[in-house]
């Protein structure tokens, strides 16, 4: 194959993003990744090939026009780039930080075949951050329709549904059970990965679209869904997310010093226990912390424990690094910060001291057997390979079950045997006018997949409201 003229050389490596140095960041809660400068953003945007048939978009659950916004950044038209993203995504500063891009848009990037894919996530974050610093403009809204929608849960799916429907002219009330909106973005993901001021700003944007947020309101215990429908809401969206933490049912699991990742992260993130006693909620961290699990909650817990002053933090995971469900960037951060990962091991019991506090745990070595239903190779115990790990704090991050309160208080709402809500592809549940999306439907997944579900549901709810339901006389 010959070429008529030499093509400009493509930069194969991704433009690096400045980060706090590991030895410094491992003891503070400030954000680790510092974001691109304008110059760096333009350099990275210039790497994009602007494919005539872009592959990246198919990897995006909310279908952002990725080449278009990258082109705008390359041309220095940053405001327009942010506007382009927000046509599809109401929470870009968050997604740029927490999406597993290597599994989504960047996985399909053509450049990835010859070098690093274009860092779509970092560019998204850059455009959103710049827009926020300048002051966010509120887009034009459609005229009011007179339809009213209740959204249950102010997490990623609920906020997305609310934003999309508000822009279409519907009146939206979000009912959030916790005292602050944001869901997993405020109680789960730590400050050093996603600063809470950014969540506040993005929630504020949604409020400015006219959405009312009622915090500390547990639907099911106060009004139920049937009652909301009777009280003038034309449709309901359920985005209650994942609920109770799973435990392993091992001896000694209720000893002092053993937290679920959820408890640990709620204390540290939502309640700001890292600032105790200025904030009232305490957390106790020992010298040797052990985290059990391989997902993002495990990485977040381990890194938070380190920042709270633990001398040694060790992650125990029953498979290998390759099978870890956590975002790649977080696994790398964990390793850079000096957290030890012990693969192919699983706890079998916890051992307490005379005060009922954990002092050690017994683990067993594992090996990988045949693939299970998730497609990953199933870990199998190696007989007689038990060993003891000294530890005074254990964080169990092995996943969560479905939140049961809505299902228990909504007659006729179909659920699976695992307690998640059954919907069609557009989020429609077994009850007319009631939709659901996010972790309460799929089980634990990502922020962006919940937002993708929210987008689909919003579209379906809009169609339902406009076609089937006469405007309520109010």
């Amino acid at each position: 194959m010959t070429e008529s003229k030499p093509k400009p050389k493509i930069q194969k490596e991704v433009t690096p993003m400045p980060k706090q140095k590991p030895e410094i960041r491992r003891r503070n809660f400030n954000e680790v990744a510092l974001g691109y400068t304008k110059k760096k953003a333009i350099a990275e945007a210039t790497r994009c090939l602007q494919c005539p048939k872009p592959q990246c978009v198919q990897g995006c659950p909310v279908e952002i026009d990725i080449p278009a916004f990258i082109k705008l950044i390359r041309e220095g038209r940053f405001d327009e780039a942010a506007k382009k993203i927000k046509e599809k995504n109401s929470l870009p500063a968050i997604c740029g930080r927490v999406c597993p891009q290597e599994e989504q848009c960047q996985k399909f990037c053509v450049l990835g075949k010859v070098g690093d894919p274009v860092s779509v996530g970092r560019l998204e974050r850059f455009a959103a951050d710049l827009e926020r610093e300048k002051g966010v403009k509120i887009p034009e809204k459609s005229p009011l329709t007179g339809k009213k929608v209740a959204v249950i849960g102010a997490g990623p799916s609920g906020l997305t549904v609310a934003a999309d429907l508000a822009r279409l002219g519907h009146e939206i009330v979000i009912f959030e059970a916790l005292h602050l909106p944001g869901g997993v973005l405020v109680y789960g993901i730590p400050e050093f990965r996603l600063p809470k001021s950014i969540v506040e700003a993005e929630v504020d944007y949604i409020r400015k679209l006219g959405v009312e947020i009622r915090a500390g309101y547990l639907v099911g215990r106060v009004y139920t869904i049937p009652e909301l429908l009777k009280k003038g809401f034309d449709a309901v969206f359920i985005g209650t997310g994942a609920g109770p933490p799973k435990f392993m049912g091992l001896p000694g699991e209720n000893l002092g010093g053993i937290y679920s990742a959820n408890e640990f992260l709620i204390r540290v993130n939502l309640m700001k226990a890292y600032a105790f006693p200025e904030y009232d909620t305490p957390i106790r961290i020992g010298k040797k912390v052990t985290v059990i699990g391989g997902g993002n909650a495990a990485m977040d817990s381990a890194r938070s424990a380190l920042r709270l002053g633990a001398e040694q933090v060790c992650i125990i995971y029953r498979r290998t690094r390759k099978e870890m469900p956590a975002r790649l960037e977080e696994i790398e951060n964990v390793e850079e910060e000096g957290i030890i990962c012990r693969f192919l091991a699983n706890p079998t019991r916890f051992i307490g001291d005379e005060n009922g506090w954990v002092k050690a745990m017994e683990c067993i070595c594992m090996e990988l057997g045949l693939p299970d239903e998730s497609g990953r190779r199933r870990p199998v115990r190696i007989k007689g390979s038990e060993f003891i790990v000294e530890t005074d704090t254990v964080i169990i991050a092995i996943g969560r079950r479905s939140n049961p309160i809505i299902q228990r208080t909504t007659e006729g709402l179909e659920e699976t045997k695992w307690g998640s809500i059954v919907t069609d592809d557009n989020g429609k549940t077994s009850i007319e006018g009631v939709y659901a999306g996010g972790d309460i439907v799929t089980g634990e997944a990502t922020v962006i997949s919940a937002m993708g579900a929210g987008k689909k549901a919003a579209k379906a709810i809009h169609e339902y409201l406009m076609k089937h339901k006469p405007a309520t006389n109010r």
């Binding site: 059970a177 916790l178 005292h179 109680y187 915090a215 500390g216 309101y217 547990l218 215990r221 106060v222 009004y223 609920g243 109770p244 933490p245 435990f247 049912g249 699991e253 209720n254 002092g256 937290y259 679920s260 959820n262 408890e263 709620i266 204390r267 309640m271 700001k272 600032a275 105790f276 006693p277 200025e278 904030y279 009232d280 909620t281 305490p282 106790r284 005060n355 009922g356 939140n403 049961p404 309160i405």
Partner: protein, 279 residues
């Protein structure tokens, strides 16, 4: 924001609040609780609902000024606001005609017990009530309880009023057969009552108040072992079969943050009722 409508000191450091929370008042039932947060830096604390008035739109709760948060709460006045109240949480008590019911309550839990006693009486039960405190000056609602039950016994730890200690219960149980015992109060008291009722085979219900954070099933800190199984007091309870509860474990778990709670409380007092600020 939730407005404090009335504040009443029932006994030294035991305060009663009526707070305006119309939707919670409409839905609350005996046995349920709320989670309260005073201000932006505050912790979330669970308190058992001691009353609700659907006409006035208020809920009632009682607390003892023991830690930083409850001391701070005690300084608030009528007309002041609380940042957030979430509720009603937990499963309501089973209210039906059981027959003869023995209701034993201690400390701050006397107030929610009164609510429950009234509901049980309305359902046709014949109630013998026991209220207890450490000393006689810490007793309250004696009159209210007396008019709501068939017989009232009073007990103090030091014997300054009524019976001294709970052992008198055995004599009562030997004389009279009860169909159910309901039990609300400090964990050690509930443990003792359960030990007394067990040989008599009386179904005994306890209201557990372990440490909680969210109070709606998210964190699992309130886990208790009941009949060998792990349960979450917030969504599976707060009421459980007292004869199946592992009280030893519960007592240890309640003490998890004792050093931090003491530090927080001490700082609060040293700073003269102001929050600690790093700046």
């Amino acid at each position: 924001m939730y407005k404090i409508i009335t504040k009443r000191e029932l006994a030294p450091k035991i305060q009663l609040f009526d707070v305006y929370a119309r939707e919670i008042a409409e839905k609350a039932r005996p046995g349920q609780f709320i989670i309260l947060i005073i201000d932006e830096k505050g912790e979330r604390i669970p308190l058992t609902i001691a009353g609700y008035d659907t006409k006035k739109g208020t809920i009632t709760f009682v607390f003892n000024e023991v830690g930083k948060t409850t001391k701070q709460l005690g300084l608030l006045k009528e007309g002041d606001f609380l940042k957030n109240i979430t509720g009603p949480l937990g499963n309501p008590s089973q209210i039906e005609n059981f027959g003869k019911v023995l209701c034993v309550a201690g400390g701050v839990m006397i107030a929610p017990m009164l609510l429950q006693v009234k509901a049980l009486r309305e359902a046709g039960n014949i109630i013998t009530a026991v209220i207890g405190a450490r000393r006689k000056d810490l007793l309250y609602f004696e009159e209210e309880m007396n008019v709501s039950c068939r017989k009232l016994h009073v007990v103090t730890d030091d014997g300054s009023r009524g019976y001294k200690g709970l052992s008198f219960l055995e004599e009562i149980l030997e004389k009279e057969r009860f169909d159910r015992c309901i039990n609300m109060g400090p964990v050690v008291m509930m443990k003792n009552v359960c030990e007394i009722t067990k040989p008599f085979g009386i179904p005994t219900i306890v209201t557990l108040t372990p440490i909680m954070v969210d109070g709606m099933g998210m964190c699992g800190v309130c886990r208790v072992t009941v009949g060998g199984e792990t349960k979450f007091a917030c969504i599976d309870g707060p009421e459980f079969d007292g004869h199946a509860v592992d009280f030893e474990e519960l007592i240890k778990r309640q003490r998890t943050f004792l050093p931090e709670e003491r530090l927080s409380s001490l700082l609060w007092e040293r700073l003269g009722g102001r929050g600690f600020d790093r700046k």
